[in-house]
Amino acid sequence: MSYTQIAIDAVILSLLLDLFALKTALIRRKVFWTSYAIILPFQLLTNWWLTSRNIVMYNAHEIIGKRIASAPVEDLLFGFALILSVQALWVFFGRKARS
């Protein structure tokens, strides 16, 4: 599987986790999108740092080739899936601790 395929799968899995497995439904909440809006510029900045300085390099055959702030667009899917999954689990375990 290419980076593109895995990144799309990761986003789908994180959405399923948030909406159906944990039922945290963070993607319907303002608190999530506000936090994501804060995190995104920092991700773009660190992505740019890591890719423009060639600290991390990507295989052209495994990405679609579109780049944002010097990093593959797939990185944004990767970041979204990571953030949503962790935040959903954080909220889920906060809920369980109280009940």
Binding site: N54, M57, N59, E62, V86, L89, W90, G94
Partner: protein, 101 residues
């Protein structure tokens, strides 16, 4: 990059008193399963040469699955920063529902 993320987010612990670090059981439970999957993804991607690292710009210490130490730290530091950001938004917007009230 890791230092930048730590500096950029961990001040929320002090300034907004988000109290994330002290709730270590909860963040460990949230981060470990996700980090494990992403580490496996990383291992697959490195082995299939989806991405590679400039050996002169990393510490050169590799953990299990031939993954650089920085990658392991990434999957700890970035999720912590994401949780702190969520808690910081909650601190500022007290009437917004998070889902664990």
């Amino acid at each position: 990059m890791l230092a930048f993320t730590i500096i950029g987010s961990f001040w929320l612990e002090i300034a907004l008193k988000v109290r994330v670090l002290v709730r270590w059981r909860r963040w460990l439970k949230a981060i470990l399963p996700v980090a494990l999957l992403f580490v496996l993804w990383d291992a697959y991607a490195i082995s299939r040469k989806h991405w590679h690292f400039d050996t002169r710009q990393i510490l050169g210490i590799c953990g299990p699955l031939r993954i650089p130490l920085e990658e392991y730290l990434f999957f700890l530091v970035v999720p912590l920063a994401a949780i702190m950001t969520l808690e910081a938004v909650r601190r500022v917007k007290k009437h917004w529902i998070v889902g664990d009230e």
